[in-house]
């Protein structure tokens, strides 16, 4: 029973996050992941099923920037999407 409920929670979370990202296509996003390269700043280009496709402006490593990256929804630990409300994500150069 508990297992089923847990499954439901995970599915709902998964669904909600996917929906949220879809709703915000073309907006800038800040993402932290547990695995390398740990951080992305970029534009949400599209969402394909549960994969977010990003136009990456900045990561922790310069070599990975200016490229398109696909990030699985489940690997996102923390995210912030820039809207007209709240602070904007810094433009980081260098």
């Amino acid at each position: 029973m508990q297992k089923e409920r847990l499954k439901m929670i995970n599915e709902r979370r998964h669904e909600a996050v996917t929906k949220h990202f879809k709703k915000n296509v073309n907006r800038r996003v800040f993402i932290l992941t547990q695995a390398f390269p740990f951080m992305f700043i970029g534009k949400i280009k599209e969402v394909i099923e549960d994969i977010v496709v990003l136009d990456v402006e900045t990561t922790s490593v310069a070599e990975l920037e200016g490229k398109e990256w696909s990030v699985h929804i489940d690997s996102i630990s923390v995210f912030y999407i820039e809207t007209n409300i709240g602070p904007s994500i810094p433009e980081l150069k260098g």
């Binding site: 951080m39 922790s60 490593v61 310069a62 070599e63 810094p90 980081l92 150069k93 260098g94």
Partner: protein, 1214 residues
């Protein structure tokens, strides 16, 4: 599988270099199949190194049972004791310990050792049949080796022939699934007896005094003295001095020291062992970095690593040979301790860029041995006439110094035709044969000069008239005119920066002579860097092998270029041409690579800066932080204000611990902080004496901070402690243990990332007695309210406006600290009434004793201890996570019971002995637990109130146990000279919540004690043994004669033993565990049988703790080093292993704990419990790994593991 080796211990003449220096009484382990061959070769080559004369290295795979038939052909009992392995301690320990069967071997006899190699790793082995540290012992003469345990299913081949091999230092290791790699064994060792070709001790040709003792690797060394002799005799390079060409193959050809050969990009593994017996060395490998723990990707990345006797590490260079940038050429590997480096402790990693099939020659005509390419990698291109490959495109002239690099020197030469063919497409200054900087990387340029100027170290006018420092060009005038205080240059940049350095040599051509040094023509200098990526051929700031000499002459500028690829912490820079001559004058600095997008501000003004030992860092994503850099220094050559040299050596040019100490070109000696009261208890008080001149690291309470800890000079270990703060040992690993102490050797670099929880003054100190005495301490000052010259961090709440004036020096006693118990308690309160008093301590059954011991004890135990009903033991108290601990300390110290009332403590000494009368005040400082420094630090520091107690006084400290810290040291901070080495220390253990502690024999609850059973409703019962390592003890023998340890404890001392010069100040004194030591000399005098000295059958059990358990019992050892000398100790427990970091499941598994020095802490949960995974029983020795001078002096004891139930020892609950 079972793997068999037949090993023989033989006497052998060990020739250590081509100059004919040799050990006539060498000893080695050798495979039986090579025994006769090696003997014949040595006979034919009495003054030439023989390849087969090398420490024995054998190999096995993880999971193998290794069966060794060991045959002894030496004239005394010997054995092979293996680290890391599991084995039946009664049959295969290679020793005769406790009540075990003797597993050493008589001359002419043999034995079978069967050991289980459970995991991949470095299994050091050495003899324990003859534990003498003198030249009559076995270890100093070479009786050690290594078993390299590879991953399962591996096989190995000879790198030259490609054929299978049975033994050897270098192998190519292959695996069906993993990449093949080069495996190199690097076996440091020291203190071996060395004679020259005449059979006498080598003489230094400059000082005409006896040469430094042997410091080498793999039975080889290549001393500067020997090579410089060829210059002075006019054989080579008549315009050279010596030190600047010490490593130059153009001048001398290749050294006898190890050369580890490979091709660019080859995966490689260096198995680093310390087979020596005394010194802690620092292994440094240019160009490369590696994980401190190769199996743990969260572990710290290092490029210099301290290693103490009988310990070992695995060095897996990241990105393979040549690192990320694919650099090739000669890459030096050395002990970074300069006197050791100059003595000959170095070698090279030679990285070729073309195929070596045996048909090529070096520029001097010596054939290049073939080198098989690794089978799973494309072989490098074959050499051609146009592209001959390294080193044959370099336009050097044999017998002369290496040429300068092309393009580097401003106004210097262009490339030759051959260089052009070897160069990259777009060569530029500092990046000719490889370019470490990716295209379009942001560039940061620094103009750095090196200058000479006098530096004043303290208010008493102690000074270095020939200070030499790095400084930015724009600061030269301000520093020289006195507008800016000289400090070590620290430059700042973000990750992903291409750093360009324009380096100008503004030094005089000559370093003048004085009481410390002889005149030296230090005419060229370089800027050698650690950590960053660079082209080693042109940018090393050094002169190594067949590379260029990338240094610069006076008045010239050279251009270097590096890439800071990721956040690298602090990278060390220094000179590599004349460091022995002048690095101790201040020639060191650091670059800090911060996270990308960082901005660096002057903490006082908020202006943007790019240098400084203290900066404030703004970052758009992570919390802003304060960044502080501290550099420890020793061999600091100082004069007092009247020009008298301080601690000069016996003769100029001697490397025998000359001079004193510094931190960031300052020191604050305690001898000058006695004041009118003459009470050491207030030495650290700013109320009484003002702030120290040493760095005060300034912040607001709550600020995140990063401390960059480095050591700039020159030879010794130091122990950095911060009181009241703590950090993750592995910064990027949340599973890491918490630490508040760090051992450091020269060139190592550590970052401690933490925050300051409360306002107040926090003491930082290099806390061995002699360092602290001579002024290596300072403060971290956290303000509560806004001060005018410190900007707040922009992402922290603005500090309140200043409501009261800042405290000032009054010259009087500090006011008492506020009551700690006014602070709120958290969780259950546990109270301890602790008394400090004097009582004689007996260290062993032979009557060695300290009649003037000072101990802490529970109030309820004091009378019993004084009356002799209870033995004096270090106080060990415990509390659980979540507890608040209220410790009430009472002083019962009596002036009459101090031995040296005149204020001079004669032995063990410290450098610059001075009047420092015993304090009757005492305090109790705890490590790691959480507390308010203004009330409960157990010390009187800065502008915090007085927290010491005088006779009859009481004070309560309040400590919070907020984490499962395990071992924490406790010690007095009121008088570091007259209290601590006399026993004024103890331990606090933070246990899991809900734990009860019972006596292992009565099962009754206890409130203190080093040996308990921990009972917790959620955990298995655990036997806990607390071991306090301590040294610097002043002992008298049974006739009340002073024991001059370590000298008095040396077994088989040779008649020519130079007692006076043999030991450094920090070796002085006796040492042991828990106020006990079982000095082997006592046993030897009673029954002179060397291999039986650890035997309880002959001598009964030792006086040191004998801990008992049953096979399989969970065991945790809490290892604490509260006191106090600078010589670090290795700890080893036979037959057992543990996680290096008890909290980190990814941590490596080892059977040793290295460099234990004041403040060191470790928790060891024995894998498999008592008797290890194999469930063995018997007597397992715990001991120091330092054959010289710990083991002889009594640093050993026994963990007894029973198979059968003993009546007196109740079993623990399952």
């Amino acid at each position: 599988m079972k793997r068999k080796y037949h090993v023989v211990a033989i006497p052998i003449r060990i020739v250590v270099n081509t100059f004919g220096d040799h050990n006539p009484n060498g000893m080695m382990y050798v495979l039986k199949e090579n025994e006769q061959k090696v003997k014949d070769l040595v006979k034919k080559n009495p003054f030439t190194p023989v390849d087969l004369v090398e420490p024995l290295v054998i190999r096995a795979n993880a999971g193998d049972i290794v069966e060794i038939q060991f045959e002894n052909k030496l004239p005394f009992h010997t054995g092979m004791h293996f680290y890391e392995a599991e084995y039946d301690v009664c049959n295969a320990d290679g020793a005769s310990v406790g009540y075990n069967k003797d597993s050493t071997v008589a001359p002419g006899d043999s034995i079978i050792y069967r050991i289980h190699a459970l995991e991949e790793g470095n299994y050091f082995f050495a003899d324990l049949g003859n534990p003498s540290s003198s030249k009559n012992g076995s270890n100093s003469n070479g009786l050690f080796g290594g078993l390299c345990v590879e991953n399962r299913f591996s096989w190995w081949t000879d790198p030259v022939s490609g054929k299978p091999m049975n033994s050897g230092m270098y192998a190519d290791v292959h695996h069906p699934l993993l990449p093949s790699h080069r495996e190199y064994v690097w076996m440091f060792h020291d203190e071996m007896e060395i004679n020259d070709v005449t059979g006498n001790r080598p003489i230094n040709h400059i000082t005409n005094q006896e040469e430094e003792s042997f410091h080498g690797a793999n039975y080889r060394y290549e001393p500067e003295n020997r090579r410089a002799q060829l210059i002075s005799e006019g054989v080579v390079c008549p315009n050279c001095v010596g030190e600047e060409v010490h490593h130059d193959s153009w001048v001398f050809g290749d050294p006898s020291a190890p050369i580890l050969r490979g091709y660019v990009g080859d995966p490689a593994r260096i198995r680093l062992f310390h087979g020596g017996q005394k010194e802690t060395h620092v292994f440094h490998y240019h160009v490369h970095q590696w994980f401190e723990d190769p199996q743990d990707l969260s572990s710290t990345i290092v490029d210099a690593q301290a290693i103490s006797p009988q310990s070992h590490y695995t060095i897996d260079p990241l990105y393979g040979l040549g690192s990320l940038q694919g650099s090739f050429g000669d890459i030096i590997i050395h002990c970074h301790l300069y006197p050791h480096f100059a003595a000959g402790m170095w070698g090279m990693n030679r990285i070729f860029d073309t195929l070596q099939d045996g048909s090529q020659c070096y520029p001097n005509g010596v054939p290049i041995k073939a080198l098989q390419p690794l089978p799973d990698r494309a072989p490098p291109p074959k050499p051609t006439k146009q592209k001959p490959g390294f080193p044959n495109f370099i336009p050097g002239k044999v017998g002369n110094k290496a040429p300068r690099p092309p393009l580097g020197i401003v106004g210097g030469r262009d490339m030759t035709e051959l260089e052009r063919h070897a160069a990259i497409e777009k060569p530029r200054p500092g990046a000719v044969f490889t370019d470490p900087c990716p295209e379009e990387t942001p560039v940061k340029e620094f103009n750095v000069s090196i200058i000479e100027l006098p530096i004043i170290y303290n208010r008493e006018g102690w000074h270095d008239p020939k200070g030499r420092i790095y400084v930015l060009d724009e600061d030269v005038e301000d520093v020289c005119s006195g507008k800016k205080e000289p400090e070590p240059l620290v430059i700042h940049a973000s990750a992903h920066t291409c750093i360009k350095i324009n380096f100008t040599n503004r030094l005089p051509h000559i370093l003048d002579g004085d009481a410390f040094q002889l005149v030296t023509r230090t005419y060229e200098t370089g800027f050698h860097i650690h950590f960053v990526k660079f082209d080693v051929l042109v940018c090393d700031g050094a002169n190594v092998g067949w590379n260029y000499d990338s240094s610069v002459l006076p008045g010239e500028t050279i251009r270097y270029s590096y890439y800071a690829d990721v956040e690298l912490k602090a990278w060390f820079f220094h000179d590599h041409l004349f460091p022995l001559s002048h690095q101790q004058h201040g020639v060191f600095g650091s670059g800090v690579v911060h996270p990308r997008f960082s901005e660096f501000l002057n903490p006082a003004t908020g202006e943007e800066v790019d240098r400084g030992t203290q900066v404030t860092v703004n970052h758009p994503l992570i919390p802003n932080y304060r960044d502080f850099a501290l550099f420890a220094q020793d061999f600091t050559l100082l004069f007092d204000k009247d020009g008298k040299p301080l601690n000069p050596p016996k003769f100029p040019g001697s490397q025998d611990d000359p001079g004193l100490f510094g931190v960031n070109y300052k020191n604050e000696p305690l001898q000058f902080r006695l004041g009118k009261e003459c009470d050491p208890a207030y030495s650290f008080s700013s109320f009484t004496h003002g702030d120290p001149v040493t760095p005060i690291l300034r912040a607001y309470a709550g600020d995140p901070i990063r401390i960059r800890l480095l050591q700039g000079a020159q030879e010794e270990s130091h122990s950095f402690n911060v009181h009241g703060l703590r950090w993750l040992n592995e910064r990027g690993n949340l599973s890491s243990r918490l630490d508040c102490q760090q051992h450091i050797g020269i060139s190592e670099s550590f970052t401690f990332e933490t925050f300051i929880p409360r306002p107040g003054d926090y003491l930082w100190a290099f806390e061995t007695e002699e360092d602290l005495w001579n002024g290596l301490w300072g403060l971290i000052r956290a303000y509560k309210e806004k001060v005018p010259d410190l900007i707040p961090l922009s992402d922290r709440p603005m500090p309140m406006k200043q409501s009261r004036p800042l405290p000032e020096c009054t010259g009087k006693k500090p006011p008492p600290a506020k009551k700690a118990t006014l602070l709120p308690a958290k969780g259950p309160i546990r109270t301890f009434d602790i008394v400090a008093f004097q009582v004689p301590i007996t260290y062993n059954d032979f009557g060695d004793h300290d009649p003037y011991g000072i101990i802490f004890a529970l109030q309820e135990d004091m009378e019993d201890i004084l009356q002799g009903k209870k033995k004096a033991e270090p106080l060990v108290i415990r509390a659980n996570v979540g507890d608040t601990v209220d410790v009430t300390l009472t002083s019962k110290l009596k002036f009459d019971l101090f031995p040296f009332k005149d204020g001079i403590y004669p032995y063990p000494e410290v450098k610059e002995q001075a009047f420092y009368p015993p304090s009757l005040r005492i305090s109790l400082h705890p490590q790691l637990v959480d507390y308010d420094v203004q009330t409960s630090a157990g010390e009187t520091v800065g502008f915090n109130g007085d927290q010491t107690v005088g006779p009859g006084e009481k004070r309560t400290y309040r400590w919070y146990v907020d984490s499962q810290l395990g071992a924490c040291g406790l010690w007095d901070m009121a008088d570091i000279r007259n209290h601590k080495s006399q026993g004024a220390f103890g331990a606090f253990i933070a246990e899991p919540r809900g734990t009860e502690y019972v006596d292992p024999y009565t099962l009754k609850p206890v409130r203190s004690g080093a040996n308990v059973i921990l009972r917790n409703p959620l955990l298995p019962d655990v036997r806990e043994y607390v071991l306090l390592i301590h040294d610097g003890v002043r002992l008298l023998d049974q006739n009340d004669e002073l024991i001059i340890d370590p000298i008095d404890g040396i077994l088989l001392p040779p008649p020519d033993l130079d007692k006076e010069d043999l030991v450094d100040t920090y070796d002085q004194g006796s040492r042991g565990f828990n106020y006990r030591c079982e000095r082997l000399i006592n046993r030897y005098n009673k029954n002179p049988v060397l291999h039986k000295l650890f035997s309880s059958i002959v001598f009964g059990d030792p006086a040191t703790p004998v801990f008992e358990a049953y096979t399989g019992d969970p065991v945790t050892i809490r290892l604490i080093t509260p006191a106090e000398r600078r010589r670090s100790h290795t700890f080893h427990l036979h037959g057992h292993r543990w996680l290096f970091d008890v909290k980190d499941m990814d941590s490596r598994v080892e059977s040793f704990v290295g460099h234990n020095v004041a403040g060191g802490l470790r928790n060891l949960q024995l894998l498999g419990g008592a008797g290890a995974i194999g469930g063995y029983s018997g007597d397992f020795m715990y001991r120091a790994g330092n054959i010289r001078w710990d083991l002889e002096q009594g640093m050993w004891g026994i963990m007894r593991v029973h198979k059968e139930i003993q009546k007196y020892l109740p079993p623990i609950n399952e």
